[in-house]
Symmetry: C2
Subunit: 459 residues, 2 copies
């Protein structure tokens, strides 16, 4: 029997030179983004006030299957990629499962997560277009760190709106972002009109990704030479993150392996969409039929309890309308520790695939997530981010099913990042003070009732 | 011209199966450890009350050149190794130097440093001997984290004495160590006789590695079935850490490269001794003649300003006497942020090599270290630990010399770890509140005057 190594790293020659655009293989495309003013599909030009041109093009490009990764971005990738594909031998042994468990670990860079993959691309295109600066939001802080790293490298000023509860829970995240010269504003803030409005309506709010997006967009649109960038949800982000899945698939091919099931955590969908992309391609084109499982927090369950509807991507209702699984853009999730998953919506691409039955989804309470996280840390020596630990939980469930059935399935999951800045959360889990929050049906119904009305499309 | 990749990872087959014992190639050996009671060279048996047997043997073994790495330790290594050898293309470009700069990056594991390499070995041998538990000390917290990971994996209880200033500066380090089930005591503490004595003499002391070692040794000796382990200074630790240098040398050979100069940070010597080992072998055996440069903090300059003398390894004077470069075991360094380098002495092996002219050493103030650290983070995207940034500073100096002379030298340095738990320090550097401390000659003379007297050896 062929001995499978613990870790596989591709060589530079084996690393992807192109991103893969999943939309090119979807027979049924996601519904188009709508201009909230006209209710009509948005055009590339209409996106220019917010996004830089190349990214606006990628956002609406449903047909180009493979898109060249610019040389400069490839060179940046080589500073921290390839990320390893790891065989979780010790986890398998601990669970006493016949399953083979692999994980793609994206945490070995200073941003601590996969977010750098899209940050580099977006900062590069912004620089190429001659922009004066960028704005963005960050939840857990990983996207903010990643973008700060990328902007620092390309000498682009950056303003980061950081969700207030993360800003307060993670003082050291701020310092890391400062080290890379970015400005940080806790959101909601007094620096934007929408921030002031949200604060007036909810004075004690701990913020949400949806609020922070509104503020960052307003800031970009109102600042000369600035554009806005986003770390998840968007089609362009899933495109850039396809590098995770492409590397994973190549590495598994080197081992003569193919996953029976692919598991990822789901917030806005950036990691999940990237990880599954080439496997979903196989599914869409009939080459293979792996199961795809999204794991989301029970406190913010957009896929498992949301509505598939047109909604704003932000709380302030300034973005285009996207058809996606959503809890309603007014929904402010409880202060769950997986800040990166506290988002009311879900990538339109993933939403469509889920709606059409290509994907499954489960939700899990945070105490169970931290139980999986600490167990994993002790077995595999990596301290995972709370977001990533959702995927661990999902993979463990699959492995335990195999134990019961005796099947030696091959499981691949995405370990998106590390938890070094989440120690408050770990401490509260260990102290027994961590609580689980699950929104009631009434809360969700109230939020759904406020979904936007679009004449002729969504009444 | 052959294109050199950004990163080289060895395959599992290429990974070292044996550690390299530098002493076997030293014509002039370090002076022997002395039993402080008798003033005579200590025997293996005399070490048994403190160390487990296999480690006591390794400590005194001056002749076995290569020592097999136990299979179980190799398997653990495979969970987080090989570490990458990275070509610092962007740093070179930024410095505009003709030099080629490589670094061996040991930070991509949850301990955040190279410390795990010896922690695994020591925990494994302790488990093999059937011990009930271990005690240790930690300065910056990297060793404590590493040993907690290893002990958790082998189900061995662990008590960590953490230098008080680190305990206070790094609350999240504690949480990480807790996650791996170890007990943490801020040192000096009331839990040991020596701790109580030190507190009585210096009530406001922020502690030091020397104090914490004394407490951990006392606790081990006075607890049934417990032994003590140390993360640096000792010969056994340099032996385990030789994996850093062995991997580096193999990776450089794959690139047809060989360093003209090897640079490492120096506290107790664990990383430096490991990194340089195969290159020093070449030097000792006449095969090659690379320069070896140690970089230490100006606040704790054992090589550059210390005395080469017999001294205790701890502040409480309970350990054997080692001949080494020392500032005196009573010397308590200022609260420098590179906690891992705040040690009064230096590995006896490295001390001897330095004394005999095989190594150079420089010292540097911490503000300059953080200047190098932030510059490096922006160029190479890795946020370094303050300890590691000493090596960056040294490598940059070498690269700038090349810029002046026009020589395209090959520089290798050890990037021992990441700075995610050092954000207080980074923040104080960015705020401009960071201060440099350099001990006065009078302070050092006072400390030297208290070096132990050993009849017939050191009067």
């Amino acid at each position: 029997m062929k001995k499978i190594p613990h870790r596989v790293y591709l060589t530079e020659e084996q690393m992807p030179k192109q991103w893969y655009n999943l939309r090119a293989d979807m027979k049924d495309l996601p519904d188009p983004l709508l201009n909230p003013g006209t209710g009509r599909p948005i055009t590339e030009e209409e996106l220019y006030p917010v996004f830089c041109e190349k990214l606006a093009h990628q956002e609406l490009d449903n047909t180009t299957r493979y898109i060249d990764i610019p040389e400069e971005v490839q060179d940046f990738y080589k500073m921290y990629r390839p990320s390893p594909l790891i065989r979780a031998y010790n986890l398998e042994k601990y669970l006493d499962t016949p399953a083979k468990i692999y994980y793609k670990f994206e945490g070995n860079n200073t941003s601590g997560s996969h977010k750098l993959n899209s940050a580099v691309a977006q900062a590069y295109y912004a620089k190429e277009q001659g922009l004066k600066g960028l704005t963005t939001e960050t939840g857990a802080g990983q996207w903010g760190t990643a973008l700060a790293e990328a902007c620092s490298f390309y000498h682009l000023p950056l303003i980061v709106y950081m969700v207030k509860c993360s800003y307060e829970q993670k003082p050291f995240r701020k310092s890391v972002i400062h080290t890379f010269d970015a400005e940080i504003v806790p959101s909601p803030s007094e620096t934007t009109e929408i921030g002031r409005k949200i604060l007036a309506e909810n004075p004690g709010t701990s913020g949400s990704l949806g609020c922070a997006i509104s503020e960052a967009v307003e800031k970009a649109v109102s600042t000369d030479g600035y554009k806005y960038v986003l770390g998840s949800v968007l089609n362009q982000v899933l495109l850039h993150q396809s590098i995770i899945g492409l590397e994973s698939k190549t590495a598994m091919e080197l081992l003569d392996e193919y996953p029976d099931v692919v598991v990822g955590c789901a917030g806005g969908g950036s990691n999940l969409g990237g990880l599954i992309s080439p496997f979903m391609q196989d599914k869409l084109t009939g080459k293979a039929d792996p199961r795809i499982v999204a794991v989301e927090p029970a406190s913010c369950p957009s896929l498992t309890r949301g509505k598939y509807a047109y909604d704003f991507c932000d709380t302030g209702k300034v973005t285009p309308l996207a058809r996606m699984y959503t809890l309603g853009c007014d929904f402010i999730p409880s202060a769950n520790h997986a800040g990166g998953l506290r988002y009311h919506g879900m990538s339109p691409i993933l939403s469509k695939l889920y709606h059409d039955g290509y994907m499954e989804a489960i939700s899990v309470e945070q105490t169970k997530v931290f139980e999986a996280a600490t167990m994993f840390a002790k077995q595999e020596t990596i301290l995972p981010a709370p977001e990533s630990a959702h995927a661990i939980y999902g993979a463990v469930q699959e492995a335990l099913k195999c134990k019961e059935s005796g099947e030696a399935k091959t499981i691949l999951f995405g370990l998106t990042g590390t938890g070094y800045f989440d120690m408050y959360a770990y401490q509260s889990y260990m102290d027994g003070t961590m609580k689980d929050y699950i929104p009631t049906d009434a809360e969700l119904e109230k939020s759904f009732a406020r979904l936007p009305k679009i004449p002729g499309i969504q009444e």
